[in-house]
């Protein structure tokens, strides 16, 4: 076994501080796909449609897309509140999981098509 001291330390995707300060929608898409899409995209595998998509589909009855990535009306405040505090069965998300900078990136991604 290689000594841990000399082993290449292979770092996973980790919460990054966005030093530049400008939100990055492309990175937001990747973070969204890692943390959010399993529940909010119409791709359920085990139980049919996943919970987030299913609930919104029932709530909007076609008046708004249930797939959050297709929405054009989400506000930054709504996205941030939901991610941090959760809603109903959706849990809270800590800053070590999605940093404030990454949350800004998610906002940029979900609002990319907003008028």
């Amino acid at each position: 076994m290689k000594s841990l001291a000399t082993a290449a330390l292979l770092t996973l995707v980790q919460p990054m501080l966005n030093c530049a300060g400008a939100a990055d929608a492309e990175h937001g898409k990747r973070v969204y796909e890692l943390w959010c899409a399993d529940c909010h995209a119409p791709t359920g595998e085990r139980y049919g449609l996943p919970a987030g998509f299913n609930v919104l589909q029932r709530r909007y009855s076609g008046s708004l897309p249930a797939d959050l990535s297709q929405r054009t009306d989400l506000t930054a405040a709504t996205i941030k509140t939901r991610v941090r505090n959760g809603l109903n069965v959706m849990p809270r998300t800590r800053k070590t999981e999605i940093s404030d900078a990454e949350l800004d990136d998610i906002v940029a991604y979900l609002r990319r098509n907003n008028p």
Binding site: M1, T11, L12, L17, C39, R46, G52, V89, R94
Partner: protein, 528 residues
């Protein structure tokens, strides 16, 4: 801001400055909005904030040295710490501490896969790596191993194994652990097993080392903060295929179980399970979609629970068997096919049984155990507040299965809880994850109704007591009930707990690490 009990505001403020100096100011969370993110999103005390377990602050180190510094600072100010890996211990408390006022040591940033050894099938990981992270890592680096994920996959292999978590991949996840690196309560770093040798050449290959085997001491305990874990890995098989065997005749049941277990004991099956389809047909066994036979519910609601003859008749009337076993083979396709042929021969020798094969899973096409964040299970529940688990273990035998269900059913009857009785009055639990133990996994749903939540918490305690009196103690417990569960381990005047407390007092004299975890309290907080 909530203060740790017994700590002055001045000392707490000073400790936060010291923590910030150790890990950086961005990684100390003391604002109310940030600290509340560590509350249990699925607390059994919904609507009763004064009863919820809450942290005072959180700190997120990224290196072992930072963890050591945190522990030393905590000792200086008597700050109780509660370490979490990814903090997603669903049904058992999430990231919530066992003692309000603890400062959370959030290890999520320690998220490195340090080594994956393809030839020897092991890995060394840090606690912040999630099952999903690990799958991505395996994919990116072409490692052909399965990720031993529970459901959902947002949790940590380290945290899950430390809480004796289970998965359909490896079964007993802690059973795959070969070594730990631990920061002790005095800030020193210990490695277990062969990790104790200065040149830890064999750490991942031989778990025992020399002398007492220590790694179990750090699971479900508060004797150290685990910063690395060595896991043995399960190779991705070519295929797997399951089978079920059913019978309408109760006398066939135990021979069926024995046959399946013997195949497992011979290494032919990697998972087995037992059940009674007719008795379970009052619900889906998970409290989600009650269906089935009204007469079944009526029989469960009767004090005597029905006779063997009555259940057989009910089964025949409704075309639902009384007995079932399941088994799954995994490996090269030829071996799997041969195993299933052997199973056919074995069960053909038991009268009145029928064997059905499940659809084979071809791992070259898909991975059924790919970890995902998916709330389907939670989202399909009748409430939106989640659940907590009651999870005793029992023997894979007809006698034990019937007895534990009868015990649980009568507790629910006595409590007058018709809903629980209707959904969980009889369940076969999960497959035999452990080679010689089954597990009943009852979800106690959390509601908006505070009184109903209180009733369910009381029911939980009654279930623990009633099952404990018969020798079926829990394998794992939610934060709020860990002392209740530990109390069941009462042999020789609770010598098990007293022994752990002796160790606790010796290595953690200030009692700073996770007071109350698994019912283990430091001397200063121990109730006589």
């Amino acid at each position: 801001m909530r203060l740790p009990p017994g700590v002055s505001q001045g000392d707490f403020d000073r400790s936060l400055r010291d923590f910030a100096a150790a890990v950086g100011g961005d990684w100390v969370f003391s604002k109310e909005d940030d600290v509340r993110l560590y509350d249990d999103s699925y607390t059994p005390f919904f609507g009763e904030p004064d009863k919820q377990y809450q942290a005072s602050a959180a700190v997120a180190p990224i290196t072992v040295e930072q963890v050591q510094q945190i522990v030393r600072i905590a000792n200086r100010y008597n700050i109780p710490l509660y370490a979490i890996s990814t903090g997603r211990n669903l049904g058992y408390g999430g990231s919530s501490p066992t003692y309000s006022g603890c400062l959370i040591v959030d290890l999520k940033r320690m998220n490195r896969v340090l080594e994956v050894n393809d030839r020897e099938a092991y890995m060394i990981v840090e606690p912040g790596v999630s099952f999903i992270d690990l799958q991505r890592y395996f994919d990116d680096h072409n490692h052909a191993f399965l990720v031993a994920t529970p459901d959902p996959g947002w949790g940590s292999p380290v945290g899950n194994a430390l809480d004796h978590g289970i998965s359909p991949v490896a079964g007993d996840n802690f059973g795959m652990v070969a070594g730990l690196e631990v920061v002790l309560p005095n800030g020193e770093v210990l490695r277990t097993g062969m990790g104790g040798v200065s040149m830890s050449h064999m750490w991942a290959n031989y778990p025992y080392g020399f002398g007492p085997v220590l790694h179990g001491l750090f699971s479900q305990s508060n004797l150290g903060i685990v910063t690395k874990m060595v896991f043995w890995l399960v190779r991705k098989p070519e295929m797997e295929q399951g089978f079920s065997v059913t019978s309408y005749r109760s006398e066939a049941w135990q021979p069926m179980i024995d046959a399946a277990q013997q195949m497992r004991q011979s290494g032919l099956l990697y998972v087995t399970g037992i059940g009674s389809p007719i008795r379970e047909s009052m619900s889906t066994n998970d409290g989600r979609q009650p269906y089935g036979v009204p007469a079944v519910r009526a029989l469960h609601a009767r004090r005597d629970g029905g006779s063997i003859t009555e259940w057989e008749q009910l089964g025949r009337d409704n075309h639902i068997p009384v007995a079932r076993v399941v088994g799954t083979a995994r490996g090269p396709a030829g071996i799997v096919r041969a195993t299933l042929e052997h199973a056919r021969d074995v069960f053909a020798g038991i009268e009145d049984t029928e064997l059905k094969l499940e659809k084979p899973l071809d791992y070259s096409q898909s991975n059924p155990y790919r970890p995902r964040i998916e709330f389907g299970g939670l989202g399909a529940q009748e409430t939106s507040r989640g659940h907590f688990y009651f999870s005793p273990v029992f023997k894979p035998s007809v006698e034990d299965l019937l007895d534990i269900n009868d015990t649980i059913r009568k507790v629910m009857l006595d409590a007058g809880d018709a809903d629980m009785l209707a959904n969980y009055g009889w369940s076969s639990g999960w497959s035999v994850t452990y080679p010689k133990a089954c597990m009943i996994l009852i979800e106690l749903l959390i509601h908006d109704n505070v009184e109903l939540n209180r009733k369910r918490r009381n029911l939980y305690v009654k279930l623990v007591d009633a099952c404990g009196a018969r020798g079926w103690a829990e394998y794992r417990a939610p934060v709020a009930f860990q002392s209740t569960v530990m109390n069941q381990y009462s042999f020789n005047n609770h010598i098990l707990l007293r022994f752990i407390e002796t160790i606790k007092d010796g290595i953690d004299p200030n009692g700073i690490l996770a007071p109350g975890k698994s019912g283990i309290w430091p001397k200063r907080l121990r109730k006589v």
